[in-house]
Amino acid sequence: MSDVQDLKKSAWTAIDSRSDWLIDVAKTVLQNPEPGFFEIKTSKYVSRKLEELGISHESGIALTGLKGYLQAATSGPTVAVIGELDSLRVEGHSYSDPETNAAHACGHHCQLGMMLGVAVGLLATGVLEGLAGRVALMALPAEEFIDVEHRYGLHKSGQIEFMAGKQEFIRLGAFDDVDMAMMSHTSLSSEGKFAIGGTSNGHVVKYIKFLGKAAHAGGAPHNGVNALQAAIVALNALNSQRETLRNEDTIRLHGIMTGGGVSVSSVPAEVKYEGRVRGGTTEAINDANEKMDRCLRAGALTVGGQVEIITLPGYMPLINNSTMMDIFSSNASQIVGSEHVRRNPDHLNRGGSTDMGDLSQIIPVIHPYTGAATGAGHGIDYLVDDYIQAVVNPAKAMCATIIELLSSDAQKASKAIADFRPNLSVEGYVAIQRSRLNEEVYNGI
């Protein structure tokens, strides 16, 4: 058996030698942004790239997802490397699609380069021969929980059940043969080259319709019931409750109005709002969600209208596996120097959410950050400016982590798996998420 360090060196050399190819993948995806469950071009493109590497794979999982395997010499656990296919929508981003406003303002394009980079490393001569087990290469749709109305439509028409990629992959059993998983996300260069650890907010997703009654807004406003006023009362009410939210619960209440009336001269009869209730724990999310629902009802009650409140199962808080973090950190340190690798305390919560949190309830995962961008995450100026750190270095760090996990007859992976106490089984997860879907019509008339 080769020495682990030799295997890593071979893998890194292979990745370095194809760095232009990997960066080109990321930049091509950047130029073709597609929001979640719409990643048709992106999925086909990644599929072609997997083919170029000779990796057979399934496609069309949860509409656009991909999954292939690299088999090691002997049997053992399966480690997944995940890249996210979807973009956000940010109007005015330098790389936004003018028709759809889709834009990679969260750096997912780099993840696909990384995932392929890991494959390139593992395919280096002798590497797979020195490992036990299997590596699943996965491209997943829809990590950004946006387009709620559209996705709820997909849900209603049976094309998806859950409204995010990893949730659907779990439900469809696509993680049933995966024992541990990892992915790396871009972050700002100013935060250092690598950061790992900490948690994320879980959330529920709100799809709200205030229903009123149209009337001539000038001629007979007394005959109307103004759904926009209901929404405004509701959102003011929501803001006044922020003081009741504990700092340590990192609650985030936010949303967008996707329909606010159709003609100025007609009293708005239907106003649509897509919202998010995020928090550090399920209890905190439930509490804040109840507060949101109360405020939504208060808006409808005020004007004597109705509100339809659809609560969709969102994400769960992220738990990073400590064994995997240790291995990742030491490999990342070898690549960029330990002074550039930050270990976050477990309780650190960045406020955002990821469906990697869902997976972390079931199997051991890590979700490190690679600092390679400038601007504001999800903003118009979020741009990756260091593609070596955005694509090549995290690919090398993850590849080396896998090598370390699966070498020596997958000793470290097996121990991490054996030590892991899942919060949920796949069945338990699916049952809980199903139970979180709630549809209510409150009648304020």
Binding site: A217, P221, H222, G224, N226, Q229, A230, I232, V233, A234, N236, A237, L238, S240, Q241, E243, T244, L245, R246, E290, K291, R294, C295, R297, A298, G299, L301, T302, V303, G304, G444
Partner: protein, 442 residues
């Protein structure tokens, strides 16, 4: 003597008592008392009645005083001439009582003097002999619908049932045998003339509101509290959000105040009180708006997860003046100030409990434009006491003469020809039906 001779007599009598009447007005101005607390003012009225030998009852609706003057026979109508005893409360008014903030920022002090002027005038030698029926001189408490919490406590203690003086006079039966009523209010639109008349007023319901939350440390544990002040803020926003649904012709007015907003900055407010009126041009309009206000109040409590107790109290009914009485009054007023100085009013969005009386009998409620400044403001001051007391008094006394002379023919005819919108029984039932107290925990 013909009617004009009698009118000349009563006017001359008022002129001869000018100093005394104006002195009474100014005495009351200097001793302002809010509604149902007009003890000093009632004593002034009693003193004046005694001094001119008019028998009276007192303590009606706590502080009300009623004097009676009989005509030569009882064939004519019973005409009520009213004056309002109470002041407002206006912080910073030049004549404010510094301990209570009471201030005559609505000119009621002149009304008492006007009413006494009518009493003195009718007692001039030779006048009463020519009149049939009687005159009820009413000094009525609490026209300004304020201090809702205080008065609601009086109600709960059984001292009053309704929160305004005239509804209490009606309830106690003091309007039962009255056929026609009048009073004159001061106003501050001298640019529109000297005397204004006619028109209509909004009616109202009043609300006393209590938001109940849960106290907790506002810095240390706001998540353990339920903020009643935020409930009130949300409710006020919600009230405002519905303003577009009110029709112009309904002239809805909703104008809350917060009378308690928390007791310590560092404690999440758990008990917040509001008072508001809901006014409108018709009973249907203000009752419909009242339902919308209730929804908004409930929404505030619902949003924070607290509760709200809404006490809705009957307020005043919209007023409409008797055209036949006005016809007489306008002629008399024109003879005093000239036709060009008369101004016919349209709809006014304030309210008066004279509106309640107008639902039961023919009334008039003209204005003498004797003041300047903003009604109910710190600068509302009566500038012209001759107009504010003497002319106002003369115009009413002359109209009383019209109604009661010639055997009270005109007064009886107006009274008989009038179809009151409500009977006393219906009136009391309507008011009692408006009274509600509900606690919502949603």
């Amino acid at each position: 003597m013909n009617v004009n001779d009698i009118k000349n007599l009563v006017c001359a009598e008022i002129d001869s008592k000018a100093d005394r009447l104006i002195a009474v007005a100014k005495e009351i101005l200097q001793n302002p008392e809010p509604g149902f607390q007009e003890f000093k003012t009632a004593k002034t009225v009693a003193r004046e009645f005694s001094s001119i030998g008019i028998p009276f009852e007192q303590g009606i609706g706590i502080t009300g005083v009623k004097g009676t003057i009989m005509g030569s026979d009882s064939n004519g109508p019973n005409v009520a001439v009213m004056g309002e005893l109470d002041s407002l409360k206006v912080l910073g008014h030049p004549h404010e009582d510094s301990s209570t903030s009471a201030a005559h920022a609505c000119g009621h002090h002149c009304q008492i003097a006007m009413m006494l002027g009518v009493a003195m005038a009718l007692q001039a030698p030779g006048v009463l002999e020519t009149l049939s029926g009687r005159i009820s001189l009413m000094a009525v408490p609490a026209e300004e619908y304020i201090d809702v919490e205080y008065r609601d406590n009086l109600r709960r203690e059984g001292k009053i049932e309704f929160l305004g003086g005239k509804p209490e006079f009606v309830r106690h039966g003091h309007l039962d045998d009255v056929d026609l009523a009048m009073m004159t209010h001061t106003s501050a639109s001298p640019e529109s003339g000297k005397i204004s008349y006619g028109g209509t007023n909004n009616g109202l319901v009043a609300k006393s509101i209590k938001f109940t939350g849960k106290a907790s440390h506002a810095g240390g544990a706001p998540h353990m509290g339920v903020n009643a002040l935020n409930a009130a803020m949300i409710a006020m926003s919600a009230i405002h959000a519905q303003r577009e649904t009110y029709r112009d012709q309904d002239t809805i007015r909703i104008h809350p105040i917060i009378t308690r907003g928390g007791v310590a900055v560092s404690s999440v407010p758990a008990d917040v009180r509001m008072e508001t009126y809901v006014r409108g041009a018709s009973i249907e309009a203000f009752l419909s708006a009242s339902e919308k206000v209730d929804r908004a109040l409930r929404a505030g409590a619902l949003a924070v997860g607290g509760s709200v107790t809404i006490t809705t109290l009957p307020g005043y009914l919209p007023i409409s003046s008797s055209e036949s009485m006005l016809e007489l009054y306008v002629k008399n007023a024109a003879s005093l100030v000239g036709k060009e100085s008369l101004n016919k009013l349209s709809h006014r969005t304030g309210s008066t409990d004279m509106g309640d009386i107008s639902q039961l009998m023919p009334v008039i409620h003209p204005y003498v434009e004797a003041a300047s400044g903003q009604g109910h403001g710190i600068d509302y001051l009566v500038r012209d006491y001759e107009l504010g007391v003497l002319t106002g008094s003369k115009a009413m006394a002359m109209t009383v003469v019209d109604l009661m002379s010639d055997g009270g023919r005109k007064g009886k005819s107006i009274s008989d020809g009038y179809k009151p919108p409500l009977t006393k029984g219906e009136y009391l039932a309507l008011l009692r039906g408006m009274m509600r107290e509900d606690t919502y925990t949603e």
